[in-house]
């Protein structure tokens, strides 16, 4: 494909299509709406389905219903809508139905500031739905990465039968960058494993070597039950401790056993650094700049860019923290992922650089923190 000027939101749409997404349900909200608009135009060209639902609760519900029907499904929203979706994120985790939720983060609680950037939903992405459940959340740093990580979000979702959240910063969603998208056949696409056993043997939540039981779509001839109640391997509600316990262990294990696959991190110069910057999303762009400036002054600075926000990159942070004297964590919030870094960093000094007024964290702010000013 030739290079084009493209917005982050558009890149998400193209990424979804490349990943095989054929269903979108959503409710308009800035700064995510371009994703819906573009997919309402592109999906039917591919025989896919687009529907504008009556709210975000219904949107994610429709996605889960479509996914049970066998289609890869996407919804996109922003803060207020993301709050409404939480019950169904938990439902998708409980019933292990793949779906992708894009949250283009905007500033503040409530209506806040719809067109200002923020990274304020990081903890909500992890803990927004009630009850213990595993989750995967990714956050791109550029328009091109918005494409790649959308594909990745679908792949993880299909591979691990789990909802995946793409946390996009408003800056990247609306920024236009020159990107060259890969040819469709160059995109690695993962599809859910479909069961091959005869229907009378099928257990939708049965044991599987990978901890991810193969799926069957409704209408394929496998009649089974889906419920948000704790369920046994056949999918029927259970109150038995010896069925609830193993279920919880399995759904966490399916993520934890695959951290090497799921935790995506970029490291730059972390092996010989005494100061480490840990950044993600649009803030990682400021961090790159700051690190360059600091290195120009001969500072030994390393940069860790987290593409996977959840599960948290504990191992990487543990390793780099071990060698560093200070760790700088810039975020467009009042300190959310810094809490995780502090938890892992032990007694190393963690310096937070925060801004939650709708403006970017600047390279100079990060540079000052690197220099210990």
């Amino acid at each position: 494909m030739t290079a084009r000027l493209m917005q982050g939101n558009e890149a998400v749409g193209w990424g979804a299509l490349a990943a095989g997404c054929r269903f979108y349900a959503g409710y308009p909200i800035t700064p995510s709406t371009e994703i819906a608009e573009m997919l309402s135009r592109e999906l039917p060209k591919l025989g896919g389905k687009f529907i504008q639902m009556e709210d975000e609760i219904a949107s994610l519900a429709a996605c889960i219903g479509a996914s049970v029907g066998g289609l890869k499904a996407l919804t996109a929203t922003s803060g207020p809508g993301f709050s409404l979706m939480q019950e169904h994120i938990g439902y998708a985790a409980m019933v292990e139905v793949p779906c992708v939720i894009v949250d283009v983060q905007r500033l503040g609680p409530s209506t806040g500031q719809p067109t200002s950037p923020s990274q304020g939903d990081v903890m909500q992405a992890r803990w927004g739905a009630h009850g213990d459940h595993p989750i995967i959340a990714l956050s791109p740093t550029s328009v091109r990465q918005a494409f790649d990580l959308t594909v990745q979000a679908f792949n993880f979702s299909e591979q691990y039968r789990t909802p995946v959240i793409l946390l996009l910063d408003e800056v990247i969603a609306h920024m236009r960058e020159k990107v060259e998208l890969p040819a469709p056949d160059a995109v690695r696409v993962v599809d859910r494993e479909i069961t091959r056993v005869p229907s009378e043997w099928y257990l939708p939540y049965g044991d599987a070597l990978s901890d991810v039981p193969p799926m069957a779509s409704f209408g394929m001839g496998y009649r089974y039950h889906v419920t948000g109640l704790f369920h046994d391997p056949a999918g029927y509600p259970t109150q038995r401790l010896d069925e609830i316990g193993p279920w919880i262990e399995r759904v966490f294990r399916k993520i934890e056993r695959n951290l090497a696959d799921i935790v995506l991190v970029e490291e730059d110069g972390t092996d010989a650094a005494n100061t480490i910057v840990v950044a993600y999303g649009a803030t990682a762009r400021s961090a790159q700049h700051a690190v360059k400036l600091a290195r120009g002054q001969r500072a030994k600075v390393g940069l860790v860019t987290l593409l996977t926000i959840w599960p948290f990159a504990e191992e990487v942070i543990e390793r780099v923290a071990h060698m560093a004297r200070r760790i700088v964590v810039p975020e467009m919030n009042l300190g959310q992922l810094a809490l995780e870094v502090e938890r892992i960093a032990g007694r190393r000094k963690v310096v937070r650089v925060n801004r939650a007024n709708g403006e970017m964290v600047t390279p100079m702010m990060i540079l000052e923190a690197i220099e210990g000013k």
Binding site: R41, E54, A58, A61, S67, Y91, F218, G219, Y236
Partner: protein, 287 residues
């Protein structure tokens, strides 16, 4: 064993789930058997039927049924079913909801599913109370009735469920009661056959909560009240407004044909593939 009992057996899951969760004497089971008889009469293959429910005593129904079944969240069954039907238009999708489920927390989805005229069959088991949570008032609790959250009598007027669905755009709307099981079978059958959004209000009762709180006696007394306190639509027309107050009117209230949503979307796909409409520019906006 009668023919009907025999055919019901074919549609139940025998692996694990009986006895069921319902109080003995509850009307929900009658709606379940009416649904089975309707499906059987139409002759649908079990693999081609999906039953989706919300949360409540009523919401527990799908687990007993040997179809593709989905027990979703409180109030949202229609939204899940919309996604499923849209993804797989070939499936017959039946949605089972309680009155609180369909009309309080799910009221918005209810009117929008009807407005879209998406080919779902919605069945509301209307026991005019929140059964599962122990007897709180619902959007169909009659004025003056007691509920655990209306200890001095309910002051909120009830929704007329069928009128609401018809006004919102449903193309088939009918009401019967769990006493009139044969009529209920027929209405559910007609509803499933309708290619569009159809609604059957199955008036039931909850002797365990509503009955006890309002001193209406055991299940049999409540069942008798459904018989004595309901009339057909044509009989109702002969009643004065005063006589009609509080009477359950049974019948088909709407039976129209309008294009169904997934069929209309097939035309959208066709237009998109022919290259029309692509000139609409995206805006983004500020809200």
């Amino acid at each position: 064993m009668s023919q009907d009992e025999h055919s019901a057996y074919n549609y139940l899951r025998h692996t694990k789930k009986f006895p069921n969760v319902w109080c003995s004497g509850c009307g929900i089971g009658i709606v379940m058997s009416a649904l089975i008889r309707a499906v059987d009469r139409i002759g649908l293959a079990k693999d081609d039927v999906a039953v989706v429910s919300g949360i409540g005593c009523t919401g527990r129904m799908p687990v007993y049924l040997d179809f593709n079944t989905m027990h979703t969240t409180h109030g949202r069954a229609l939204a899940f079913a919309t996604g499923l039907k849209f993804a797989r238009p070939g499936l017959t999708v039946i949605v089972i909801m309680g009155d609180g489920d369909a009309l309080a927390i799910g009221g918005n989805h209810f009117i929008h599913a009807a407005r879209r005229n998406i080919g779902l069959t919605a069945i509301v088991v209307d026991n005019s109370i929140y059964g599962m949570t122990g007897g709180q008032h619902s959007p169909t609790t009659p004025l003056g009735s007691r509920a655990t959250t209306a200890p001095y009598g309910n002051i909120e007027p009830p929704f007329p469920v069928c009128e609401l669905a018809a006004a919102a755009g449903a193309t088939f709307v009918a009401r019967s009661t769990v006493y009139h099981a044969v009529e209920l079978d027929r209405y559910i059958e007609q509803a499933i056959r309708k290619n569009g959004f159809s609604l059957v209000e199955a008036v039931s009762y909850c002797h365990t909560t509503f009955g006890r709180l309002n001193k209406l006696g055991p299940a049999v007394d409540m069942m008798r009240r459904l018989k004595e306190n309901s009339v057909t639509k044509s009989a109702a027309e002969k009643l004065s407004p005063e006589q009609r107050a509080g009477v359950i009117v049974r019948g088909v209230f709407c039976d129209e044909d309008r294009p169904e949503y997934t069929a209309l979307y097939d035309e959208v796909i066709q237009r998109a593939q022919e290259g029309a409409g692509a000139a609409v520019r995206t805006t983004g906006g500020l809200g």
